[in-house]
Amino acid sequence: MTRLPAWADYGLLPALNIALAFLVTGVVVAIIGENPVEALATMVEGAFLFPGGIGYTLFYATNFIFTGLAVAVAYQARLFNIGAEGQAALGGIGAAAVALSLDQVLPGLMVVPLAIAAAAAAGLAWAIVPGWLQAYRGSHIVITTIMFNTIAAGLTVTMLAGALRDPRQPNPQTRQVEEAARLPAIHDLARDLGLEAATSPLTLAFPLALLAAVLVWVLIFRTRWGYALRVMGQSEPAAVYAGIPVRRLTLGAMAVSGALAGLMAVNVILGDAGRLVINFTAGYGFTGIAVALMGRAHPVGVVLAALLFGALFQGGTELDYVYRSISREMVLLIQGLIILFCGALSLMLVPWVARALAAFRGPEDAEGRA
């Protein structure tokens, strides 16, 4: 297989693949009869320039950092966690159950950490079962997590129709968590400090997500456990030969992955919305796959990719306002294309880039490379 220098592998190649995804999207926009450049400008404006735009962008990015990290941790061990969507839903049930039963009894400062822990624990539990089934019963984790997504959706609907439902609401949803038991909004904190800040749903969940990214980095690249995880991802036979307990590691990887996915719920249940509604995960678990692939399963890459997707989602809402012919689903198209080009077709451009680099450097370098 052709080898590329690291900067081309981690910088140039993803950039080219993303450019391809945007190019195809541009073609679709042009076919619809709108100007792709203007549409892009609208998205950038909505995501960064409008008051509160950045807040919304970072709010969406928070979701994607959590789900992206979840997919990335499992992917480091070559496990495909397609189930972040369901694990996040379970995280929502966990967080809502704890927050709603304690918020009128205990002070907010105690409820918030408990609810966060509950979100992580519920997501962990929902992920460790497919992990266990793969490690000890030989069922394929992809199929199991797909099934678990749907089971989680059924479970959420059932909980919202029954135990967790707020009877005063016409639609199945929980009551709102008391203000004191929710994460403070960033714009409130900024105003307390005397700064001007536009209102947005951004809360302290964002720094929490960044902290999670740092911890994941430490875990994967600075601990023995993380090293074992990466060895397993590179070659399972090698890991077995080296005495690494692959089965236990599978459980561990899925546990961490599920906990991260579950934490996504914190941004919603303890954040601006403050309640559990049907389908609050809104496909963010699947976006996590795109984020992880684009970020090459590295925490830094995941955070950057999550920021891009945050901007895309917020920009997409702007498209909805401005155009009659373009809707926010355009973002789903971009997302699908990014998964296609950065994931399934990630190797397509390698020979081309290698040839271009060789031509650019001249023959003497090419010899040194061989």
């Binding site: 619809i32 699908g336 294309l337 998964i339």
Partner: protein
């Protein structure tokens, strides 16, 4: 009503109604599960059934609305689904990409594209205009249905259950023996199954692994297209957002439950169809000793069953051996 009372109260007419709606609900599952079976028997994982189904449903409804012909809609659905299958093949076979990632991409692409193009074409929030009766596939009355109506049991069974469905339903039931014949009774089928078990052997016998896998993937695309057309121009009268609603995933589950064999897969599809039809008819299920089980939990039973089967808690589902591994020719 308890479960036993419910069962006792059901008469033949009720059973027929239930079976009839089970068949209607099972049809897209059967077509998609056969698609998945063909693709996976050749060694290519097909998570993208859902996306191809959705894209097919949209194309069928859009073209039927524009041309007025359900046949044009069916053709469009097959072409669209085929194109998505070709993308899957290009990524997984030509470029040896991750098959699961490619499938996920197809599903998300279909979610996005159907709404984007739908809004651009019709400006109805992602729906297509509702179709008139002559723009859909009509119900086909089989010969003798009227004549036999008076015969007890046989008459209603033939007239209400077997006769009176729309074209894709019969196509779905025809697809099962056809797939069985193609895969187990032809040379092509033998090679195709071999490519899913041990591609190197097929390669050394002088057959192209790439060509065989492409044919399997594209065939799967065609079948999903028919399923899509069923949803929007036969069973339904138009396209609505996300109308595939997880049916592609249930089909995947049925394919595993049926252990990648056509007749058992058909039975699994019908079982899931019955479950859905039953859950829709009973508002909630009461099991003695356990209390009431809400409808939404009954609907997840196929998924739970698949998980248990895959884990070997009952039976064993062993996938084709080369499933998911791209073929790299030895050099």
């Amino acid at each position: 009503m308890s479960l036993l009372d419910t069962l006792a109260a059901i008469e033949l007419r009720e059973v027929l109604l239930l079976a009839d709606s089970a068949i209607r609900l099972a049809t897209p599952l059967i077509l998609c599960a056969m698609a998945g079976l063909v693709s996976e028997r050749a060694g290519v994982i097909d998570i993208g059934l859902e996306g191809k189904l959705l894209a097919g449903a949209f194309a069928a409804a859009a073209v039927a609305a524009l041309t007025g012909s359900p046949w044009a809609g069916l053709l469009a659905a097959m072409v669209t689904s085929l194109a998505m299958a070709a993308v899957h093949g290009f990524a997984c076979i030509t470029h040896r990409g991750e098959q699961i990632v490619s499938g996920v991409a197809i599903n998300i692409l279909a979610s996005g594209l159907t709404v984007v193009i739908g809004i651009a074409l019709f400006r109805q929030g992602g729906q297509t205009p509702s179709l008139a009766a002559d723009q859909r596939f009509g119900e086909i009355a089989l010969p003798l249905a009227e004549t036999l109506a008076a015969v007890p049991v046989l008459g209603p069974v033939y007239g209400d259950l077997i006769s009176g469905h729309r074209l894709p339903v019969y196509l779905a039931f025809a697809a099962v023996p056809l797939v069985g014949w193609l895969l187990w009774r032809t040379r092509f089928g033998l090679s195709l199954r071999a490519v899913g078990e041990m591609p190197a052997a097929v390669d050394s016998a002088g057959q192209s692994v790439t060509a065989l896998r492409y044919r399997a993937v594209l065939l799967a695309g065609l079948l999903c297209g028919v399923a899509g057309a069923y949803l929007s121009v036969a069973h339904g009268g138009g396209f609505v957002r996300e109308m595939s609603a997880g049916k592609g995933y249930i089909a995947l589950a049925a394919m595993i439950m049926g252990r990648w064999r056509p007749w058992p897969v058909l039975i699994a599809c019908l079982l899931f169809g019955f479950l859905e039809a039953g859950a829709a008819r009973l508002q909630s299920l009461e099991i003695p000793g356990l209390g009431t089980v809400p409808n939404d939990l009954v609907l997840v039973l196929p998924y739970v069953a698949t998980v248990l089967l895959l884990a070997g808690f009952f039976g064993r589902a062993i996938p084709p051996r080369a499933l998911g591994t791209p073929y790299v020719k030895e050099r």
